[in-house]
Symmetry: C2
Subunit: 333 residues, 2 copies
């Protein structure tokens, strides 16, 4: 910058004025400065600028998601990006893979980077460690999972209701023995979905065989194995609810290889691009990712605009998308 000033025959401050489009620089000088900047390959140093300015916005928002490679996180990231772009904010994305330590580490990094905001799909259960950050004025928005131990904005889906919808739908199809596969129960969304499943069974006066509820199913392969095992029971389930998209895929595979995909009903959580092309087409509980991302962005921007109202908790309603797999009725015994 000094070099540019020297070459243009002005002071550094004037270069700063030109670069930032501030008034107080004649057209002629402006021209000279810009040419000098070009000649010298000068690049404005945003870090130094941020350091000096009072309000010091870094223009970075951290997005800590479960896995940016998975379609739910990826769609969310995209929606968030769109919503923040207009405000000139960039998104620093990171995958947590349900590892609390990584969450802590990346948050610390983002704080040191002076991120303007944080979007968090937490891997940890307790979030007290964020209290001091929030007190220091860092806007934090939880997404998909609620905050515990700190009072932040959040955007979640009514998971209990989603699982309830799925279960009720199957019950109304005549099913009595409905199995559920779920993610690690410590994960809040999984916990809620299990609760919704249980509540729906209970409301319908069904006993709810504990053997049919399998929490802690970790991956696609494991889901396939679990479904296969359940189908081999003396009194097998006639319908399945799967608590996450990869579990749904695993379940479809198991039903397929057992030749039962048209006999056993299935409702999955999370929609995905080709769900209607599978045979039978998959009935799912859809969460509107676009909408979630947009809401998160909106909340964050509101906070950045200075809103200090009490935390808002947006809860979106999931919807049941009927495509066929969930409408298979109970086989007559």
């Amino acid at each position: 910058m000094k070099d540019v000033a020297l070459l243009a025959g002005v002071s550094a401050k004037t270069v700063s004025r030109v670069v930032n489009g501030e008034p107080g620089a004649s057209t002629e000088v402006r021209e000279r400065v810009l040419q000098a900047a070009q000649r010298l390959d000068y690049r404005h140093n945003l870090g130094a600028s941020t350091l000096r300015r009072k309000d010091s916005r870094s223009g970075i928002v951290g997005a800590l998601l479960q896995d940016v490679g998975n379609s739910f996180s990826a769609g969310l990231l995209r929606a968030l990006e769109d919503s923040l772009r207009s405000a000139g904010l960039s998104v620093l994305a990171a995958s947590l893979d349900e590892e609390p330590d990584r969450e802590r580490g990346i948050v610390a990094d983002l704080v040191a980077r002076r991120a303007d905001g944080l979007v968090l799909m937490p891997a940890s259960n307790r979030h007290e460690y964020l209290v001091s950050e929030q007190r220091a004025g860092l806007p934090i928005v939880f997404v998909d999972r609620r905050p515990h131990g700190v009072d932040c904005d959040s955007v979640t889906v009514d998971n209990r209701r989603g699982a309830g919808l799925a279960t009720e739908h199957l019950i109304s199809g005549g099913h009595r023995r409905i199995a559920m596969l779920s993610d690690l129960e410590e994960i809040e969304t999984a916990h809620e979905r299990i609760a919704g499943y249980r509540a729906a069974l209970h409301a319908a006066g069904l006993p709810g065989d504990p053997a049919l509820l399998v929490p802690s199913v970790r991956g696609e392969l494991e889901a396939t194995q679990v479904v296969t095992r359940l189908l081999a029971l003396p009194d097998p389930p006639t319908a399945f609810v799967t608590g996450r998209n990869i579990l749904t895929i695993g379940a479809v595979r198991a039903l397929r290889s057992a030749g039962l995909s048209h006999q056993v009903a299935l409702v999955g959580f999370d929609d995905f691009p080709m769900a209607d092309l599978v045979e039978p087409a998959l009935t799912v509980i859809r969460q509107d990712v676009q909408r979630i991302g947009a809401e998160v962005g909106r909340l964050l921007l509101t906070r950045l605009a200075g809103d200090t109202a009490p935390p808002k908790h947006v809860v979106l309603e999931p919807t049941l998308v009927q495509r066929g797999s969930g409408e298979i009725r109970r086989r007559p015994v």
Copy 2:
């Protein structure tokens, strides 16, 4: 930091030493400083640190992808993240949506942010504007598409060969009239795929009806319409090659509604999670996203480690994954 120093009764420099784990601070002092830091909610300011240090690594790598919400970009992002995490680098992700202006703008932003490296799936055709950045020492790795007008590392897939594989496979299934749907022809990958398709037809001595090559198909819906239109021709194609995953989905939908999904062959470009669950299961050309991302990360890290060898161009081989839709033979006439 000054406050911490004051509270701990030491100089700012000593606080700096403690924070950075440098030697030259007694255990006792170290303890005092850490306690003071905690009491005051002190956070190390990475921006200032970067500014002062000589080598000044910001720890940020920019990833400019086509669309972080799309499974190809998302998978790449994830693989890249994993590969860079070990080096303590964070990824700032952005979607370009094939808009060259956005590419320019975001690159400028990243340069101003003093990003340590750039990963670019370009939306533009000419990249001369990157020459000065590269000269200034910014490592740039192109991915999926080659650089034009600047000599950078790149990781691409042999798209010509991929399309060739698909087309040859269909020809060997007895097909003579093979249609191809492609993305905007200005996009290099699309161009290459078209070339591979043409070359395979030519090598087999087939005429190649221009009416069967439809470039510039933009979305899923348009793909459905185009396939429907082609199927209505007096002499319709008996097989399709689709140049991108969303086009494949559109094509499946069209074949499905025409009731021809078991009569007309289809090979798609890009694999996706449920491709084997569709009926018939989809034969695709697979690009190993994990591998691509890992290679990109490796190249970037090598450059950051100081390698100044001439640019490397890694070209990965796509593979044909046979699942059924591509093995449908030509209907006897």
